[in-house]
């Protein structure tokens, strides 16, 4: 798992273009996520954040094509066949999606879903898979992991489901975790729990993190650097502290206003 050709490399995205039916929805996006670092991708909905994440994994929807360059540890991912990318997904790059209600298969127990990635990538047997599923469930601090692995998604709460989704993404100890608005669909109190869980797991494993959000307040808690997207373009890339103190673009200022509005109600500024 270690000893890559250039392990310090990590993820390097250069001039990424995603087109859907000839329309450019991501237009020349570049950024880097070196191993062990944390990057935030910020923007309003429709700015191309999620498509960027899907393009990295080679999971763009029908009719969408990616061009440009996405390098993972020096290997070019754009244009790789699906089978090769499948070996990478989950094993080296994991992803957590926004909506925990729909991200789990309704007719399979959560234990089987957690263990699925491990079975695929490590080829272990059914009994061993269950043991690992219980272990992973305990790691994301699901209550009563021995029994919860035999339950179905509809028997779990939203927060519990998101924990399951995180367990699935991290089951094979990927080197990079992409979190696509993992807390947006959750209650505020649960949001904080999930966020701190994510961070502690990322810290424990020394993973790098690419965190996608529209909320600067959340971003300030997770990432050191931020890339601001608007209509598929990078409008600003800076340390999060800079984005918060001296935002240079109008869109960042807008996002900052939204973020501060959730913290306190500002007096009508002049």
């Amino acid at each position: 798992m270690t000893a890559h050709i250039d392990a310090a490399d990590g993820l390097r995205v250069r001039d990424l273009i995603v087109e859907i039916d000839g329309r450019r929805v991501v237009d020349g996006v570049s950024f880097e996520v070196p191993h062990g670092s944390r990057l935030g991708l910020i923007g309003e909905s429709g700015s191309g954040k999620s498509l960027t994440a899907l393009a990295i994994l080679g999971l763009l929807p029908d009719g969408a094509t990616a061009s440009g360059s996405i390098r993972w540890n020096g290997v070019e991912l754009v244009g790789l066949p699906d089978r090769t990318l499948a070996a990478l997904r989950g094993d080296e790059i994991g992803i957590v999606f926004q909506e925990p209600r729909t991200a789990l298969n309704p007719i399979r127990t959560v234990g089987r879903q957690i263990a699925e990635a491990i079975r695929i990538h490590e080829g272990i047997g059914r009994r061993e898979a269950r043991r690992r599923a219980v272990e992973e469930a305990a790691r994301v601090r699901l209550p009563d992991p021995e029994n919860i692995v035999d339950r179905y998604p509809h028997q779990l709460s939203g927060g519990q489901r998101q924990r399951v989704a995180i367990a699935i993404a991290l089951a094979c100890r990927p080197r990079l975790l992409i979190a696509d608005e993992p807390t947006t669909a959750l209650d505020v109190t649960i949001q904080a729990e999930i966020l701190s869980l994510l961070l502690s797991l990322v810290e424990e494993e020394g993973m790098s993190l690419m965190f996608i959000t529209h909320d600067l307040a959340v971003l300030s808690q997770v990432a050191a650097d931020g890339v601001v997207l608007e209509h598929g373009h990078v409008v600003e890339a800076a340390p999060v502290a800079t984005l918060l103190s001296t935002p240079s673009s109008e869109i960042t200022r807008g996002l900052l206003r939204d973020a501060t509005a959730t913290l306190w109600r500002p007096e009508e500024d002049a």
Binding site: L54, L57, L59, I95, T102, L104, I107, A117, H154, A165
Partner: protein, 289 residues
């Protein structure tokens, strides 16, 4: 995996009933190949219209044939037609649904239109078209019901496939490293199975009815072949004189159709956990006003 859904099926009362009846009918069909109480085609004029009793348990018909033996022999036809139509419907339905959901857009849209056109053809019309070329036989029933209901299965299953294919959990499954083929067999098909099973059991039940109906009209079994439909048509002429005798083939058809439907419902419940747990909660005794 197999015993698990079977155990679940056994635990739903309707599924259990359907399963038992289906197995009994299949057994009877097999037994009738080797043994029936009497030769189903042997007529004894002196024993016409005997009431139920011994040795003719369900009585005899207008030519003195033993009705129980006729029904036993007729079950062969029923099983043959219903399984045959089920297989044809599965092949036609799954092929059309898969082509209509998982391929390139222009293929998908063409298939959708094709299905909508085919759905307008009633089974009877298909049967008449086929039999006008190849003559009446049980194969006509199998092909016409199979094609007619295969299209139906495709129409219901295609959007379901499409929905699951675009679902987040399929994307999530692929994101954790499943190849397209693996996500198809592990996530896509199991999620569509409940809908498909209900449709399939329904088309198999209709095949039983259609065999009776089409044989009655002369498109299906020939007169010498044992068939519930033909038996019903025969006895129905004497309903004013011997009303009891016509009940037996009617009852056989009704119970079979009911059992297949209940079996389908039970299977759906057994394969869909969201349904199962919900129904477990509702299964407290309900007060019927």
């Amino acid at each position: 995996m197999t015993p698990r859904w079977l155990a679940r099926l056994w635990h739903t009362p309707t599924g259990r009933f359907g399963l038992i009846v289906a197995v009994v009918i299949a057994l009877v069909a097999v037994i009738s190949v080797f043994w029936t109480p009497f030769d189903p085609q042997a007529s004894t004029i002196r024993e016409r219209w005997l009431p139920p009793g011994w040795p003719h348990v369900l009585g005899t018909d207008d030519t003195g044939r033993d009705i129980l033996s006729l029904i036993m022999a007729g079950s062969r036809t029923t099983v043959f037609v219903s399984v045959g139509a089920g297989i044809v419907a599965t092949v036609v339905g799954v092929a059309l649904a898969a082509l209509g959901a998982l391929t390139a857009r222009w293929v998908r849209e063409t298939i959708a239109v094709l299905v909508d056109i085919l759905i307008a053809f009633p089974v009877l019309l298909i049967a008449m078209m086929i039999s006008s070329v190849w003559g009446g036989s049980l194969w006509v029933v199998i092909w016409s019901v199979g094609i007619g209901f295969g299209v139906n299965i495709a129409r219901v299953t295609r959007p379901e496939l499409r929905r699951v294919q675009q679902s987040d959990f399929l994307l999530a499954a692929r994101a954790s490293g499943l190849t397209t083929a693996q996500s198809l067999t592990r996530h896509l098909l199991p999620n569509v199975a409940p809908v498909f099973i209900v449709q399939l059991s329904w088309s198999m039940a209709v095949a039983v009815l259609a065999e009776a109906g089409l044989s009655y009209l002369g498109f299906g079994a020939s007169v010498v072949e044992p068939s519930w439909g033909i038996l019903l048509a025969d006895l129905q002429r004497y309903i004013g004189v011997h009303p009891l005798s016509v009940i037996w083939p009617g009852l056989a058809i009704t119970i079979t159709v009911l059992a297949l439907n209940l079996l389908g419902d039970g299977l759906r419940e057994a394969t869909d956990p969201t349904l199962r747990h919900r129904s477990a909660e509702v299964h407290t005794p309900a007060v019927v006003a």
